[in-house]
């Protein structure tokens, strides 16, 4: 009986792990093969990686897309964790009834689907396009602005602020630090892991964002990585090896971030529901 249970447990988890990993393996193997071989179902590494890479660079603007995605994701992440951590700290440390009400209203925004926002947001940015192209349609700022502040991230930082020892705030005040000084010099260094988790979550969602950039970004030189991949995938005569290589390259940054900071990431996800 016990043995049967163990076989079942390992069998089930083994199959689940295999199914989870298989598309990655296939993606990586296919990136080294010729398109024809991918369609034939070849599952062994090939020698076509360099050629695929050359074709990818020749036929697409991979470098531009990568640099656009990197700029957008990094700036979004830095601003997002700064604004949300200030707010989360503010809501928790300077708590009042009025702020609790405001906080609850902010949380309601988590229920609003993006589909309900995309048309008015598009019109908002389209309206300023002529007067201020820097903020308008087809600008990176327009991609970033609506995604920088989310109620989720504020909630996340507020929950973490609960674990921050309040005595340290008092100690900072006695030492004559300003309230912002306490935040920058005491809170931020103490909560490094929280910041790391928040940064990973924000970077990933910004790097992978698709719908809003699809609407806002129109010129080819503004395209981000998900837009580039979507374009490659919609062709009628797809070069499978080349597309798989593009997908591997697009997945690398988030996969790397995940593996390097796995502990923080999982802790961050868990912290968000505690």
């Amino acid at each position: 009986m016990k043995k049967a249970k163990r076989i079942f447990t390992y069998g089930f988890l083994g199959v689940a792990s295999f199914i989870s990993i298989f598309p990655f393996l296939w993606m990586v193997v296919s990136a080294t093969n010729k398109s024809v071989e991918v369609t034939k179902g070849r599952l062994l590494p090939g020698t076509y990686l360099i050629q695929n890479f050359k074709h990818l660079l020749e036929s697409t603007d991979l470098g531009t897309a990568l640099s656009n995605s990197a700029k957008i994701s990094v700036i979004t992440t830095v601003l997002a964790i700064l604004i949300a951590s200030l707010a989360g700290y503010g809501f928790e440390i300077f708590r009042s009834k009025a702020k609790d009400v405001v906080f609850n209203i902010l949380l309601l925004s988590m229920m609003i689907p993006f589909a309900a926002l995309m048309v008015p947001l598009y019109r908002m940015f389209a309206n300023v396009s002529d007067a201020a192209p820097f903020f308008g349609i087809d600008s990176k700022v327009a991609v970033m602005l609506p995604t920088i502040t989310t109620a989720f991230l504020i909630f996340f930082f507020r929950q973490s602020s609960k674990m921050f020892p309040k005595d340290m705030v008092e100690a900072g005040r006695i030492d004559g630090l300003s309230e912002f000084g306490i935040f920058v010099k005491i809170f931020m260094p103490t909560m490094k892991t929280t910041y790391a988790a928040a940064a990973i979550i924000t970077f990933m969602s910004s790097w992978n964002n698709y719908l809003w950039p699809l609407i806002v970004l129109q010129s080819p030189e503004q395209k981000t990585i998900p837009l580039l991949i979507s374009n490659l995938g919609s062709g009628y005569a797809p070069d499978y090896g080349l597309i798989m290589l593009a997908i591997v390259i697009a997945t690398l940054p988030t996969a790397l971030v995940f593996f390097l900071m796995q502990k923080h990431f999982v802790a961050g996800m868990m912290g968000s529901v505690k």
Partner: protein, 297 residues
């Protein structure tokens, strides 16, 4: 609170500083969530093409009630919801209970492997799935080699199988994500409860339904609400795997709104009306889920 122990002037000063900490966040959320929501409401009473819009009262809402494409998209979305969310939640629960066993070997490997799909972008994995499930794709080739099927399945081009493909894809991407929440909740359950149950002779089956499920109820509620909201917003996968086809067999509401605004002749007013239907559905479903979870207490 701390402020109560301090003087009045400090309290007033603190209140000011407190508001300044949250100001930017409040303004950003007001500007990019609540203001557009109000705009969408106003838009939903206007009709016209592109930028030329005029008030037409309830006409968009009347159109909505007779719009076959809208109801197809609604039906598709509910099929995904009713089939996919329960499958995924049960699967995630099941896997996390298996993984919670401290004597299990390779725990870290299993957990990482099953969580791995969450690092891919929705677009990237959608494109991979599109090729895996193509008529000449690897899945069909393997199923035929294993003699499970005789002729290739039209995963992408048959209305029924296309929906199944989308369901498989979403389940692949999100099961590990939900699993992490259950795992963390399971680790918070005191092991002595299970030991006591074991001494009383409760089977693992009974322990699962009498201890694990009730203890995890808040997390199950949380994940089912977030998954419901996620499914109602489904877009990237459908657009990149099936383009909403064949016909409109896999069209999601989000994609329909996108089509109305940016693909066909732009009808922002009607698109806003359709988008409000999702808002109402999300609010209604969340209330029901809270109710159901609350009643069982």
């Amino acid at each position: 609170m701390k402020a109560d122990r301090q003087g009045m002037s400090i309290r007033v000063k603190n209140a000011f500083t407190g508001w300044s900490f949250i100001l930017i966040a409040v303004l950003m959320i007001a500007a990019f969530y609540f203001y557009p929501m109000i705009q969408a409401l106003i838009l939903s009473f206007k009709t016209g093409r592109g930028a030329n819009l005029s008030f037409t009262g309830w006409s968009n809402y009347e159109r909505l009630l007779t719009d076959k494409t809208f109801f197809t998209a609604l039906k598709n979305t509910f099929i995904y919801l009713i089939i996919q969310v329960p499958i995924m939640i049960i699967l995630a629960l099941f896997i996390s209970v298996l993984l919670n066993d401290s004597k299990l070997k390779f725990r870290g490997f299993f957990r990482t492997a099953i969580f791995l799909p969450c690092v891919t972008s929705l677009v990237a994995y959608s494109v991979v799935f599109k090729y895996l499930f193509g008529t000449n794709g690897l899945i069909n080739t393997m199923l035929m080699k294993l003699s499970i099927i005789g002729t290739p399945i039209e995963w992408i081009t048959d209305p029924f199988w296309a929906k199944i493909t989308i369901i498989i894809a979403i389940t692949w991407r999100w099961t590990g994500y939900n699993m992490i929440f259950y795992l963390s909740a399971l680790q918070n359950i005191d092991n002595s409860i299970y030991e006591a149950a074991r001494i009383d002779g409760a089977s693992s089956f009974k322990q699962f339904f009498k201890i694990t499920i009730p203890m995890l109820k808040p997390i199950i509620l949380f994940t089912s609400i977030t998954s419901t909201i996620g499914t109602l917003q489904l877009f990237d996968e459908v657009l990149n795997i099936t383009k909403g086809g064949p016909g409109n067999a896999t069209l999601s509401i989000s994609q329909y709104i996108y089509n109305l605004s940016f693909k066909y002749t732009a009808d922002f007013g009607y698109a806003a009306t359709v988008s409000y239907s999702i808002v109402l559905i999300i609010v209604a479903l969340s209330l029901i889920q809270f109710r159901v979870a609350g009643d069982r207490k």
